[in-house]
């Protein structure tokens, strides 16, 4: 959980930073390209317009035919060409017939046939004829043709009207403009170290380029931007290889990823450390409560955190000491109470026997019945007091065990002999057929007998309506295991969990009339464990139980 809480914000922050910086940089690259293209477009536009202006003629003459002779026209054209280095070819042509009236070419003398050509069917003538329309009479009208790729370079054809001082159209003028200057304009583009700009015509043919790499066909990823020019139709393209344009992003990405990774690592380590710091004391306290639940008050919790958890642990230990003291007082009380009760109950038993036997006077049958009931109750009380004393001694560690090599077989036989009347009464068969060679065990014979009396006695008590109680032995891993198996009512799963607890007795309709203090199995377990053995059982409700205990073989 701490990992998630710590990691997610870092990843989110890193991702967001990367995203916003990336977007910002992309926009910056886009702006750089855009500004460059705008600048180049302005230069191209300025070039085109400048040349158009050079053919935007107002001739201070009246009528064309009378005063603007071919010789004068040729001189006029020569002068224009002299001041306009981009003009390759310039000519006047008649505004009605389209015939060329004068022409000057920069690098050659036009042939007679060429001079005899009419431009009446050509697009510039047809375009300019529309300028006779009154609605555009007073405006400067230019024809700009598409880009043509000639061996001497890219060119455009342009044309304009020639007006006199009254703004009447007296002629048309046309020219071929070399676009070679655009190469200089485009070549001067600077776009990082590897970026480039190129200019294409309407058909996509490259007219000018700042680099040999003029199209994406090189296979290199580029960031591109285009700017359309209307007249003539051309397109300016800026392309910037991604490897340079976004180089800073690659670096930044690496830095962000690296930093995020380091932060992530730090968070992970810190999380583990903090978790341990917080969780370990809590686990210790949890273990402490388990010991207390089991009645063990000698396991203090050690927490050295210097904070509230340490204070809590200290309070817990204090509580445990208090409980321990309380337990000790309780044991002391039980022991003293049981000890003090032992004498009076023994006296009661004794005097009741005397009264029943008539030593205090004649006792009729009815009185004897009453006295028998009291004797029985007192017997139970005596048993309870003895058991309480036993429990108190066990918990105080005062239970006396004298272990010695012991032959278990005769102890079992004696116990069976003692309990036979009880089993006969209930029509229960006691089965004991020990094999030869049962090894001796390290045990206190009297205590073993006490255990057997309790276990076999329970088997008889909880076998109703006849049955069998079988005692057997087996040797297992250096221990002698004694099994007491009955065909009794068995023990439910819920009861099994609490069987060895003090004062616990199974409460069912079947067991309602069975008497007992609920301390027998607790005492048996203490005795067996004191002798270094173990006790356990298996039981199936309705089918019977098998109690087993182990003792170390000598």
């Amino acid at each position: 959980m701490m990992l998630v809480v710590g990691v997610l914000p870092i990843l989110a922050a890193g991702g967001f930073a990367l995203y916003s910086v990336t977007n910002s940089h992309i926009k910056s690259v886009n702006d750089i390209e855009k500004n460059l293209l705008n600048q180049k477009a302005e230069e191209v536009d300025s070039f085109i317009k400048g040349n158009l202006e050079s053919i935007n003629l107002y001739v201070a003459l009246g009528d064309l035919d009378a005063e603007f002779s071919p010789a004068a026209q040729k001189t006029y054209l020569t002068n224009i060409m002299a001041v306009s280095p981009a003009i390759e070819d310039i000519y006047f042509f008649h505004p009605y017939t389209g015939e060329i009236t004068a022409r000057v070419a920069r690098d050659f003398e036009p042939s007679t046939q060429a001079l005899a050509e009419s431009r009446a069917e050509l697009p510039d003538f047809r375009f300019l004829r529309n300028s006779f329309d009154e609605s555009v009479k007073d405006t400067d009208v230019f024809y700009v043709g598409p880009v043509n790729i000639t061996p001497r370079g890219p060119e455009i054809e342009v044309a304009a009207t020639v007006k006199n001082f009254t703004s009447s159209i007296i002629s048309f003028v046309g020219a071929r403009i070399s676009l070679s200057e655009l190469q200089n304009i485009v070549e001067a583009s600077v776009l990082g170290e590897t970026g480039y700009v190129y200019l294409t015509d309407s058909a996509g043919r490259v007219i000018a380029a700042s680099s040999e790499k003029t199209t994406g066909a090189t296979g290199v990823d580029v960031v591109g931007l285009v700017h359309k020019i209307d007249s003539p139709q051309m397109t300016l393209v800026a392309e910037w290889p991604v490897s340079e344009a976004y180089a800073v992003l690659a670096n930044l990405r690496a830095q962000v990823v690296g930093f995020s990774f380091l932060a992530l690592l730090a968070v992970v380590i810190l999380s583990i450390f903090l978790a341990n710091k917080i969780v370990r004391p809590i686990r210790a306290l949890e273990e402490g409560t388990k010991f207390v639940a089991k009645g063990k008050f000698d396991e203090p919790v050690s927490v050295k955190t210097g904070d509230e958890l340490e204070e809590l642990a200290a309070a817990f230990n204090k509580m445990t000491e208090g409980l321990k003291e309380l337990e000790k007082l309780k044991d002391e009380f039980v022991f003293i109470a049981a000890h003090e009760l032992k004498t009076p109950v023994a006296a009661i038993k004794g005097y009741l026997s005397l009264v029943r036997d008539g030593l205090a006077g004649k006792v009729d049958d009815e009185a004897k019945q009453f006295i028998d009931k009291v004797i029985a109750a007192n017997t139970r009380l005596v048993k309870l007091v003895e058991d309480l004393l036993e429990v108190a001694r066990a918990e105080a560690g005062r239970i006396k065990i004298d272990v010695a090599p012991t032959d278990v077989v005769p102890v079992v036989r004696e116990t069976l002999s003692e309990l036979k009347p009880l089993s006969d009464e209930k029509n229960i068969t006691l089965v004991y057929q020990p094999a030869g060679g049962i090894p001796r065990v390290l045990a206190d014979a009297a205590r073993v007998r006490e255990v057997l009396v309790n276990l076999i006695g329970n088997s008889i008590k909880y076998t109703l309506g006849g049955g069998t109680v079988t005692i057997s032995h087996e040797v297992r891993a250096g221990e002698l295991v004694t099994n007491i198996k009955d065909t009794g009512i068995g023990i439910s799963k819920e009861a099994q969990a609490k069987l060895f607890e003090k004062f616990y007795r199974v409460q069912t309709p079947q067991t309602a009339k069975i008497t007992g203090t609920g301390l027998g199995l607790f005492i048996v377990k203490q005795i067996i464990e004191k002798m270094g053995g173990k006790i356990w059982f298996e039981s199936q409700e309705g089918k019977g139980s098998t109690f087993s205990f182990s003792l170390k073989i000598v």
């Binding site: 389209g98 046939q113 060429a114 050509l122 043509n148 790729i149 060119e155 309407s202 058909a203």
Partner: protein, 238 residues
């Protein structure tokens, strides 16, 4: 039922894509140039053989002089072609090493109306050269026959099966000084016809519809010439 619908849907998508590809057309990107409005006739490589032909009854002009003018004109025309066709087509030319004396007198070749550039001479001489197995056709190349004729001539044509183009040009255009500026353009103009490109000027009035080499530009120096974008588009170049 559901599977059927999915199958029908997928089939429909497939048919639509096939329609777009085969019927609407596929990109010409990467394909070579072709004859004018004939995309089946590839002209990536053009094999041009030029003959200086002289009718039986005429004396040939000095062959060396003819060659001295013809070769540069062909070189210029070839370079012009590569420029205009953006290297999607190029010309490999050769000049027949000697004067080719024709089998008939000039009367035979010039009998018909010699206006419109003497197409009769073009057809007759082309047949004669073919019959003499002088044309070397190479696989994968478009063959063009150039005839420099000792007589009147300025025409170009494409055979009916579009496998052979031929043009004729009067020797005067090659050697006479007055045509020195325009000879390469005139040569290429007629060569253009062998690729199926039509005249872009009025044959009767001479008025040009365009300024490019198939129109008014045929009278201009080749270095100032170009081929119209619309023509190049019809030839798979743009």
């Amino acid at each position: 039922m559901r599977k059927t619908y999915i199958f029908i849907f997928a089939g429909g998508i497939f048919l639509a894509l096939a329609f777009l590809f085969f019927i609407v057309g596929k990109s010409t990107e990467g394909q070579g140039a072709h004859l004018y409005r004939n995309s089946d006739a590839n002209i990536s490589k053009i094999n041009l053989t030029v003959f200086y032909t002289v009718p039986k009854d005429k004396m040939p002009y000095d062959f060396e002089t003819v060659m001295a003018s013809l070769e540069p004109a062909l070189e210029e025309a070839s370079a012009f072609h590569s420029l205009q066709f953006v290297d999607k087509s190029w010309i490999q030319y050769s000049i027949y090493p000697t004067v080719l004396k024709l089998e008939r007198d000039s009367f035979f070749y010039d009998t018909e109306d010699t206006s419109r550039g003497n197409p009769n001479a073009l057809a007759s001489i082309t047949e004669e050269i073919k019959d003499n197995n002088l044309i070397v056709e190479k696989k994968g190349e478009f063959t063009v026959l150039g005839i420099i004729y000792e007589g009147l001539g300025a025409a170009g044509a494409l055979s009916e099966d579009s496998k052979l183009g031929s043009f004729i040009l009067s020797r005067d255009f090659i050697t006479r000084e007055e045509y020195v500026l325009s000879r390469s353009a005139l040569l290429y103009h007629e060569f253009g016809h062998t690729l199926g490109i039509p005249d872009l000027y009025d044959l009767d009035t001479g008025e040009a519809f365009t300024s490019d080499i198939m129109g008014g530009g045929r009278q201009e120096p080749l270095e100032a010439n170009y081929i119209e974008i619309s023509t190049l588009k019809e030839m798979g170049v743009l």
